[in-house]
């Protein structure tokens, strides 16, 4: 055996073994226990193939900054009241400042000093006159605002991950994209609409007192009150009715003081409700609020909708409460999930939603595989007829190509999409191209009267540069597609570029060694090409 054949065959063999090793987790549904040290990554099916939902969410980060400023304003109110510093108004102004309006210059100086100590990173404006009062504003600096925005996206991501985990989706992908986008992929999900609602909900839970002294029909309501509605749906007719309430703007207790939320069934009416438990601070607050307001009404508000507005019958000190409303079991369990997972720090907007039903996905796989198979058969038959035995060698190379490619995709844990299958099919066509180039060269050399062995070597040598050039140009396109493409297109680029590299190997080493094996003695008189 001439030198060089051994290691090349060895290499081909090793790659085949490796490919199957990496493919095992994909092909076998349950791995034996001793497999643990061996590769476990497998080829994932893209959403277009197995069905599922791909969402891009945009976090309204500005709202997170505003939320922080609202807290600062509330905080300041409490502090100034506690220190007996009289103020006319403290509120967020615009999207990046809190303005404090005071009655007199004397308090203003004290407030200025207090603000400097309490909020050192904020920029303080000089005192100015505002309608006869003294005003000053506290502006959040650019860097802190950016920081807050960044954290908001991070928090939103964690919260959404939490919700999805509790909802129960296998292999979800949740990742940040760019500055304020979050990509969520839920493969194989059965009820996408429900999942979307679960993810997109802000879930800000608040307990507010109802201002029963002001009728909802009042023309003007005070600055510290607001109107919200309680929606109820008649189970029998589906008619929606809305009851307005006037609420105190300031919330007494918020959802971040919860430790747990569970669905329970009311034994009397057989109606589901959500039982919530407060942490110690929440329990204390709840105890105080209920003790001070027996006989009054308070409202349980979620995302600016009133769920219920019960009358406080007695002091509640156990630290638990219940939210009832017009729940079905599903809506109650979804509410419990979002309450457990916590509120989003800022509202999110769905800016992209691609949902593929499972039936279409299965249909696509079947058709894609069928098309691939037919493509392979057509090419195999064509090559066998046109180049005879040599054509069969090229066909073996092509099969090697497909095995290697699948193995590489599995090793990378890549995602196979429909365009990815298309790329593989296309590659089948292109993979024989290198061999066609070589074979045509060999035919030319044979026509010049060279021996099969000499023609073979000359053919490979002369075709080499052409093959390199053509592969590199394709690789350039594939790399750009990978860089800029999203979803399915990226899958296409991965398959294409892997395929091109593998094809280089199989055509220059794989098929060559087969010919060498038969022709190395130089005794073969006629080449079947």
């Amino acid at each position: 055996m001439p030198k060089g054949i051994g290691w090349r065959i060895g290499l081909i063999g090793i790659f085949v073994l490796l490919s199957f090793l990496y493919l095992t987790p994909t092909l076998v549904s349950k791995l034996p226990s001793w497999w643990s040290v061996l590769p476990k990554d497998k080829i994932h099916l893209g959403l277009d193939l197995q069905g599922g939902t791909h969402l891009v969410l945009e976090v309204d980060t500005q709202k997170a900054v505003e939320g922080t400023l609202d807290i600062v304003a509330t905080d300041l109110e409490d502090t100034l009241t506690g220190k007996n510093l009289h103020f006319k108004r403290i509120s967020r102004t615009g999207s990046d400042a809190v303005t404090v309006v005071l009655y007199e210059k004397g308090t203003a100086d004290a407030v200025q000093k207090l603000l400097k100590d309490k909020y050192p990173t904020y920029e303080q404006s000089p005192l100015h006159d505002e309608g006869g009062f003294v005003a000053l504003s506290l502006r959040v600096n650019e860097k802190d605002a950016q920081d807050r925005k960044d954290k908001a996206v991070q928090q939103a991501l964690e919260t959404i991950r939490n919700r999805i985990d509790q909802f129960g989706v296998s292999e979800p992908i949740i990742q940040r994209e760019g500055i304020n986008h979050i990509v969520v992929q839920l493969p194989g999900i059965k009820d996408p609409q429900r999942a979307i609602e679960l993810i997109g909900r802000t879930a800000r839970l608040e307990f507010k007192m109802v201002r029963e002294d002001i009728p909802p029909s009042a023309v003007t309501i005070p600055d510290d009150a607001e109107i919200m509605k309680e929606k109820s749906v008649d189970a029998a007719t589906g008619a929606v009715s809305e009851v307005p309430y006037v609420l105190q703007k300031k919330s007494l207790i918020t959802g971040d003081l919860l430790t747990d939320a569970q669905v329970r069934i009311d034994s009397q009416f057989n109606q589901p409700y959500v039982a919530i438990d407060f942490n110690s601070l929440g329990a204390k607050l709840f105890d105080q609020v209920t003790a001070a307001n027996v006989g009054k009404r308070f409202a349980i508000v979620l995302d600016n909708n009133i769920y219920s507005a019960p009358v406080i019958r007695e002091r509640i000190s156990g630290g638990s409460a219940q939210i009832s409303g017009n729940f079905t079991e599903k809506t109650a369990s979804d509410l419990a999930i979002v309450l457990r997972a916590g509120a989003l720090p800022a509202p999110v907007k769905i800016i992209q939603n691609v949902t593929v039903g499972p039936s279409l996905g299965q249909d696509s796989i079947n058709k894609g595989l069928m098309a691939g198979l037919i493509g392979v058969v057509l090419v195999v038959v064509f090559m066998a007829i046109y180049y005879k035995l040599s054509g069969m060698v090229a066909n073996v190379g092509m099969v090697l190509n497909v095995i290697y490619l699948m193995g590489a995709l599995a090793a990378m844990g890549a995602t196979l999409t429909l365009p990815g299958i298309a790329a593989i099919v296309l590659l089948i066509g292109m993979s024989v191209d290198s061999n066609v180039l070589i074979f045509e060269r060999i035919r030319e050399e044979l026509a010049l009267g060279k021996s099969p062995k000499a023609a073979l070597d000359a053919g490979y040598d002369k075709a080499f540069l052409t093959i390199m050039d053509s592969h590199i140009t394709t690789l350039i396109t594939a790399a750009v597609l990978f860089q800029f493409g999203t979803g399915p297109v990226k899958g296409f680029a991965v398959s294409l570029s892997l395929g091109v590299i593998i094809n280089l190997f199989t055509s220059l080493i794989g098929t060559k060694v087969t010919f060498d094996l038969f022709l190395h003695k130089g005794t073969v008189k006629n080449m079947s090409i």
Partner: protein, 308 residues
Amino acid sequence: MHLHLLGKTNIDFIGKRNISFVISSIIAILGIIGLVQITRGAANMGIDFSGGTSMQLKFAKPIAMADARTALHKHGIARVDLQEIKEGNKLLIKIDKNAGAAVGKSADAVKASFTSEFADNPYVVESTTEIGPSIGDKLRKDTLVAVAISLLGIILYIAWRFDFKFGIGATVATIHDCLAMFAVFYLFNKEINLLFITAVLTIAGYSLTDTVVVFDRIRENLHKNLKGAMQTIFNESINEVLSRTIVTSTTVFLAAASLFLFGGEVIHDFSLALLVGVLVGTYSSVFVASPIVVLLENRALAKQGSKA
């Protein structure tokens, strides 16, 4: 004996350049018109670029398009694009982003109208795609950048491997192929979406491969034969690699055709684009790329001659 699709050929490809230039110019002009219309948004844009909602519904019984349209109109969806997939009673619904509803609302409205208007014809939603306008804009920009960068990369590579004149020839041929695909899709009112752009870039790579093979042979023959007329050497080279060109195109064409015929509706247009591209790419590597290089080489020679 070897099996040959064609024997030794001796076709004067370069001499027919006037004819091919006329054909290619028409293709290119159509392509440019298509491209302009696409950038203006006047073509059949996929929602991944324009923003909006598209849905695919599968009904239990056949449904008339006119009835479906009336039902949607009745429920306040005025601007809607319907397309029927005969096999399996499927209906493709495309709603413009300007139809009014926010992301998430159009799909609900469609479902509501079909549920109430066609109570006796139940359906399942096979797929829903909703794209907010900001995503569409971003995607369009990214895509333009992607196309520009990959073309530039390829040109630089060819210019480095061959010389500048070949680089121009290859570039013109590649752009020609892309334009041809735009022309066909525009004329047949096929949807311009991300998959189509993917197909265009793939074909750009494929067509270049084809051109490179021809150029390689030309360069080899130019080195061997320094005295021959440019046109003769080019013609000989193209004839020498002609059978390779045809065999390769045939195999890729077979693979793409099987995708087109059996691959299902999702990649139907994608494979159509590939088919068109393979045909045009083969044509252009013979009839566009090489004649342009000859033209440039002759002009350069004439310049040198007049100086001497």
